[in-house]
């Protein structure tokens, strides 16, 4: 027991490191927000474009979403960071990680929006059109509001899973929380820093995980 406290909860060792840890935490939060704030609207935009059924464009869209859903996030980050520079385009580690995560999240988001748009019953489309609304009006005022409401639970799950992928940025030396805490761990030869990192990750993501439980309850018993 003493050993556990000495190795995993010796917070006196962290005294000089708190600012660095806080900074790493903020980088993690920043990356997560950027990924979600760009990835989800991008996914929605792609799903809307796909609705216009322009054949060559739709083939490209399917290729895009299949590609980014098939490649592991870490592989994509490594590829963006180490292979793209051979094109002459050098990305900062931060930008490379966020770009990779945005591409992945937008693909999953597109698939979710697409499935939800398609599950809005045909009658809704027909009713909208027969009251004199145009295609766009029916889409934006009748179908999309329902589809977006349906998509919230799966989208939240996916957004959390991909935000957790910000930790993969540590592999290309983004100074996010995992990177900071694991380098402190090796500096002071004590894993308390890892405990601190783990607690902060829990603080960040656990509320969202609890939120998805609540969402699932609300959605499975609509009042």
């Amino acid at each position: 027991m003493d050993q556990i406290i000495h190795y995993f909860f010796d917070f006196s060792l962290m005294k000089t490191y708190w600012p660095e840890i806080l900074w790493g935490f903020l980088v993690t939060v920043e990356m997560s927000i950027l990924t979600v704030a760009i990835g989800i609207p991008l996914g929605l935009a792609i799903a809307i474009v796909r609705l216009y059924r322009i054949v060559p464009l739709n083939a490209l869209i399917v290729l895009y979403i299949d590609f980014f859903r098939s490649i592991p996030q870490l592989v994509l980050i490594v590829l963006t960071y180490f292979a793209v520079p051979y094109f002459g385009l050098v990305l900062e580690p931060f930008a490379a990680t966020v770009l990779a995560l945005v591409l992945v999240l937008s693909s999953f988001a597109e698939e979710i929006f697409w499935a939800c748009i398609n599950s809005v019953s045909r009658g809704q489309w027909e009713a909208g059109r027969s009251t004199g609304l145009g295609f766009n009006q029916t889409l934006f005022q009748v179908v999309l509001p329902q589809a977006i409401r349906m998509s919230i639970p799966p989208l939240t799950n996916r957004a959390i899973a991909i935000s957790k992928g910000t930790t993969l940025g540590s592999v290309v030396a983004v100074p996010e929380l995992l990177n900071v805490t694991s380098s402190i761990q090796s500096n002071v030869a004590n894993p308390t820093a890892l405990t601190v990192g783990a607690v902060l990750f829990l603080l960040l993501f656990l509320p969202f995980v609890r939120f998805t439980r609540w969402l699932e309850r609300v959605y499975s018993h609509p009042s």
Binding site: F8, P72, L74, V75, L76, Y86, I160, L178, P191
Partner: protein
């Protein structure tokens, strides 16, 4: 164009590093073959145990699944690989990766199985029990087969995610596919190995990603 091919898909380089990549692919498959069944088994146990009439046990299991779903898998792996040795528990790359993947994977699987169990009306179970089937029999012959079918898209998609995640094992120097490609890239100073590894992952997962899309479209009111 020929420059581009020479850089990103250099066949000479590919021939040279192919054995290394293949070796990595086997390691990735080995991780998957061990971690996926373990995660599924543990996920079933956690889901079914939440059915037992014990409030503290249910609360404990809810904490287990929530905490593990909140933890980034890489954080878990780093903790296991670099933290546990301080307690005298030294795991090499393979078991550490399997442990991290299984803990993380089981929490997702248990949530999926729980959703599957809850999708079967109570009357089914009562009917099964009243015809003389035991609890275990009614679970395994009546509830689980139907529940599993209801959550099939999620099961396939979560399995794909889990296998994709084996790539994080590269961080603890386990020589799976990604790690092999990185080593190879260091040897030949050329991104061909990374591109080839990405192509292998793509070929491996693409069919399953298609299947998931197809399955999801069939189950209309589908909530993640």
């Amino acid at each position: 164009m020929s420059d581009l091919v020479a850089t990103f898909l250099n066949l000479d380089v590919l021939r040279q590093i192919w054995p290394l990549l293949l070796q990595g692919l086997w390691m990735t498959l080995a991780l998957a073959i061990v971690a996926v069944p373990l995660s599924i088994a543990l996920g079933i146990v956690v889901a079914v145990a939440q059915d037992l009439p014990s409030r503290p046990l249910r609360a404990l299991l809810a904490v287990y699944t929530d905490v593990l779903r909140a933890f980034p898998p890489l954080v878990l792996l780093i903790f296991i690989f670099y933290g546990l040795p301080f307690l005298g528990v030294k795991l090499t790359g393979f078991p550490a990766a399997v442990l991290a993947l299984t803990l993380n994977g089981s929490s997702y699987f248990s949530e999926i199985f729980r959703a599957g169990l809850e999708s079967i009306p109570k009357g089914q179970r009562e009917a099964a029990r009243s015809t003389g089937l035991s609890w275990l029999q009614s679970m395994s012959y009546v509830v689980i087969p139907q529940g599993a079918r209801n959550v099939l898209p999620d099961l396939v998609s979560n399995t794909v995610e889990l296998v994709k995640q084996t790539s994080i094992a590269s961080v603890v120097a386990l020589q799976e596919l990604l790690r092999s490609a990185q080593i190879a890239q260091g040897l030949v100073y050329n991104p061909t190995p990374l591109v080839a590894a990405a192509a292998i992952y793509l070929l491996m997962f693409w069919p399953f990603v298609r299947i998931v899309s197809r399955l999801q479209r069939k189950s209309v009111a589908h909530f993640g």
